[in-house]
Symmetry: C2
Subunit: 237 residues, 2 copies
């Protein structure tokens, strides 16, 4: 039901899509739809929460355990690009586009999850600088530049365009990190750049342990197997 | 009137803002507003055309004459960042956000102007590669990465945030071009990177002449002093 509603909202826009239309598309009466949701805004919150679940499961959680911060960021970029280029990721497009539609507590709830992603990126850039893996950047600008490159894709990417998603991901990784990574020291010449350094143990990093990244809500929810969209909220599934 | 309407549409969203509300905000009756516009969609087209005029006048036209492609792209990035970080650039935000709201001929008209910007960026990246000024990139991915970084700003930038627009522009230029520009040859060591090369004459470039960039409509309109939003359209100002 959330996916059908998401498709309609993405096609028509949130304001233009009526509750009547959404109900009909879901094969429900308007009253039937209101059995599941309290309001149209509640439906948007449900869709966005579902989109954030998908994002966290497919992009964020799988990369948290990567110890090297640059490899972690690169993997994150690749996964996020694949998510936004997929035709079926309608919920994700809605999180991106309707960023100012929600108000009050619902908006805070979604924004808190988005902010965790920004903080994860900032922390990873800071760590990469501390470990001498990238040149100095302002972590916040780096984080939002990363996000801008990756998330803007939903505005221009076409499935039938000349650049497939795989190539896009490789090109963007090279464009962003190719200029950030610090070249190996002169003594190391002969080894390929980047790869040579990657094997080096980061100063202060504990061997074999993933770097702790502050994402308590999503990570602990995932460990407990609890769907975030329903956790702590009194809404019928 | 366009600026007042733009403010309302940006605050409420295009679908949510009624023609009644827009007319009232402009100090007009609904009938009075319809004297100036044929429909709500026509109003959106007017606002977007006006936004594209502002963009072309403040970002694109001033940089077309810069002969060095990397300097041209850097200046373009700086100008575009200043435009999107300004509180008063409401029309520009609407071009960015309501990218799928217009339909038919109106949509094609705005999209053609947006595409000229993409093509300008692609052509400049291609030129920079030909002249050995930057390492090899896929021009389309570079153009949309540039756009993503710069245009995503409207989603997160706050006037009262910790990063002022000037610093943001400098950091993004460094982040994007710092890793793209080719370091000076070893014989040149001692001179600062980048600057040393910038003075070099580009192979094949004609001295003192700006590089021709395909932007016929906007450029020739600007030379003739004709406001693009009214050119060839039968709408009362």
């Amino acid at each position: 039901m959330l996916e059908t509603a998401a498709r309609l909202i993405r096609e028509q826009g949130y304001e233009a899509a009526s509750v009547q239309d959404i109900a009909a598309a879901c094969g429900l009466t308007k009253a039937g739809l209101y059995y599941y949701i309290r309001s149209k805004e509640d439906l948007l919150l449900e869709i966005m929460s579902y989109g954030m679940d998908i994002f966290e499961e497919r992009v964020l959680l799988p990369v948290l355990a990567i110890a090297d911060p640059v490899e972690r960021l690169k993997a994150c970029m690749e996964r996020n690009i694949h998510l936004v280029t997929e035709e079926r990721s309608k919920e994700v497009t809605i999180i991106l586009h309707e960023h100012e539609t929600l108000i009050g507590a619902a908006r805070q709830q979604i924004n808190a999850r988005k902010k965790r992603y920004v903080h994860f990126l900032e922390a990873s850039f800071e760590e990469a600088m501390r470990e001498g893996r990238i040149r100095r950047v302002e972590p916040r600008v780096a984080a939002f530049s990363f996000l801008g490159m990756v998330l803007w894709i939903y505005k221009w990417f076409r499935q039938d365009g000349k650049i497939p998603a795989d190539r896009l991901a490789a090109e963007m990784q090279d464009l962003f990190f190719g200029g950030l990574e610090i070249a190996p020291a002169p003594a190391r010449r002969g080894k390929p750049a980047g790869r040579a350094r990657r094997a080096r143990k980061a100063p202060g990093a504990k061997a074999g342990r993933p770097v702790p990244v502050p994402l308590p809500g999503a990570a602990s929810r995932a460990r407990r197997g609890m769907p975030a969209k329903l956790a702590g909220r009194g809404v019928a599934p």
